[in-house]
Amino acid sequence: MVWFRIKRTIKLGAKSLWMHRLRSTLTTLGIVFGVCSVIAMLAIGEGASQEAQNQIARLGSRNVIIKTVKPAEEQQSTADDSTMKTYGLTYEDAERFRATLSYEVIVPSRRINQQVWYRNRKVTVEVIGTIPWYPEIAPIEIMRGRFFGSIDLHYQHKVCIVDESVIDEIFIIDDPIGQDIKIKDNYYRVVGIVTAVGPIDTTGETANGIEPQAGPSRSGEMAGGIMGNVYIPLSAFKSSFGEISIQMTAGTRQMEKVELQEVTVKVPSLDMVLPTRDILEDMLASTHKKKDYQILVPLELLRQAARTKRIFSIVLGSIAAISLLVGGIGIMNIMLATVSERTREIGIRRALGARRRDIIIQFLSETVMLTLTGGVLGIALGSLIPYLVERFFYMPTVITGFSLILAFGISGAIGVAFGIYPAYRAAWLDPIESLRHE
């Protein structure tokens, strides 16, 4: 019986909305746009925070990363092209960190993009020279074999550990363990295979690129055609590549000496991240004359994401609120018009036994049907917006099931909120006067 009533009420509502379909459609536009904004807001906010969480997982929430950057004044002095530029983090810095922060894991590293060969196949990778504790600070896991140890580091053994993605490129069917690959002029024996753990990098940034807004996102392929990483002992790196690199910029030669590209400090607990950052900041400020370093704290990405989220929430939230308010008022207006057009029908129904609450249910459900229709249109349209944002603004977005349910719920709630007054107006009409109404 209840079901029959619901069916009848819906059928009746649909009939009268369909009778004025143009009017109904126009009326729902406010709700459509409001719901669109809600969906977009939630999708962008969710995208930003998931992105931040991914990056944090990738970079390590307990890590403080100090990177070498080319100091600003160095970049401008192009006249003097023959002198050697020395800048960046040094082994001394790393030693100093270790001396001061006795309880933390401190991992220095050098990185270079390099072609590596296996027989006649080559692949471009990022060669990372580091120390045996690197796996502790990076989101990698040893699948087979081992990472290199202290002895390898000490004796500059030519051993390497390769990424799974590199294996697919050059080894194809051969078992990589025990094979030699050629990096620059030397052969390195593969002793282990690692795989990335945690969330997949969707931004296309390599693990050391931390700026979340940088560059277009194309998942699958890493930046600059880099197919993965190869890890070698830092000492071997140093002897192989030296510390001097020659940069060819616009026809001029520029020699640069950089000892370390990166030092990662892993602290024992989250609440030590920021104090450690401050200590390192002070230490570096007092020992480096130029600002040739940058300190990155993955944990701060969360704040950055929260900021992005807040900005979008304010902008889109206001748009949503205004559209929904205006839309709701528009709907109330149309429903008041409907009630007055249908005064006679209301009188007839009252004469035939409809109670006030029956009339309220009838008009309220009609309003809710109207706003839910708007909600569904808004959800359909709103789901396209995050797609466009991702496509053209390279911002990650995530549409959650919750946001769809919320949007649907909001449109229903708008229907109730703005339908209740017209419905009460209808229900409190005097039956006799309504019957006399023309």
Binding site: R8, E345, R349, R350, G353, P431
Partner: protein, 229 residues
């Protein structure tokens, strides 16, 4: 047996400082199965009385018994309930719901009494056939003639098998031929034992009733008993 009785019913409208006594001191009873006509000049209070009888309105004073219930003290929900269960209305201007078809219009009173889908449809169909519209079930009012619309209205008035049927100038908008058909239909309802109260201007309509109540300025002027029936 009296199924409707009015005791000292008054209806007064307060228009500014003037009190307009539309009905004053009406004492009347109606018996089960009776066929009564109410006549009187325009503005004499016929419609007001019919609205009171139909529980659409409440008297300013006096008591109104419908069956064994004093309905002059009921609240709005209870009055709606009574209207749905015990009263069948037939209006001068048919008052069908424009967007509903014949069947759906007849089903409206049953819907508000919670009759379920199948019995409701079955009853509506039977009634439509009774009033001769079995072949027009899915027509909407604008596709029907005035006489046909009034027949739908009669079917609708019968839907919940009411205690009394109230008709306010049921033939007022119809030509004499279709008006005649409606009167024949009403006669047949009376023959089936329904209680009918009809407001009319037309002496030809009133002649068919047992009793004719003449109203004048809100009072019962005289009651005429039709001896021919």
């Amino acid at each position: 047996m009296a199924i409707v009785s009015l005791e000292k019913i008054c209806k007064t409208y307060h228009l500014g400082s003037i009190d307009l006594h539309v009905l004053s001191q009406i004492d009347l009873t109606f018996k089960e199965g009776e066929y009564v006509a109410i006549m009187g000049p325009s503005g004499s209070g016929k419609s007001t009385m019919l609205n009171l009888l139909g529980c659409l309105d409440r008297p300013s004073s006096g008591r109104y018994f419908l069956g064994d219930r004093d309905v002059s003290i009921l609240d709005d929900d209870e009055l709606s309930q009574i209207r749905g269960q015990r009263i069948g209305f037939i209006f001068q201007s048919y008052n069908l719901i424009a967007q509903l078809n014949v069947i759906e219009n007849i089903e409206v009173p049953m819907f508000y009494q919670g009759v379920t889908e199948r019995p409701s449809y079955k009853r509506a169909r039977e009634l439509a056939e009774t009033v001769g519209l079995g072949d027009r079930l899915d027509h909407i009012p604008s596709q029907l003639s005035g006489g046909q619309q009034q027949r739908v209205a009669i079917a609708r008035a019968l839907a919940n098998d009411p205690l009394i049927i109230l008709a306010d100038e049921p033939t007022g908008n119809l030509d004499s031929e279709s008006g005649g058909e409606i009167l024949v239909l009403l006669d047949s309802l009376h023959q089936q034992g329904k209680t009918l109260i009809i407001v009319t201007h037309d002496t030809n309509v009133a002649r068919r009733a047992h009793r004719i109540i003449h109203l004048l300025d809100g009072r019962v002027e005289r009651i005429e008993i039709n001896k021919k029936i």
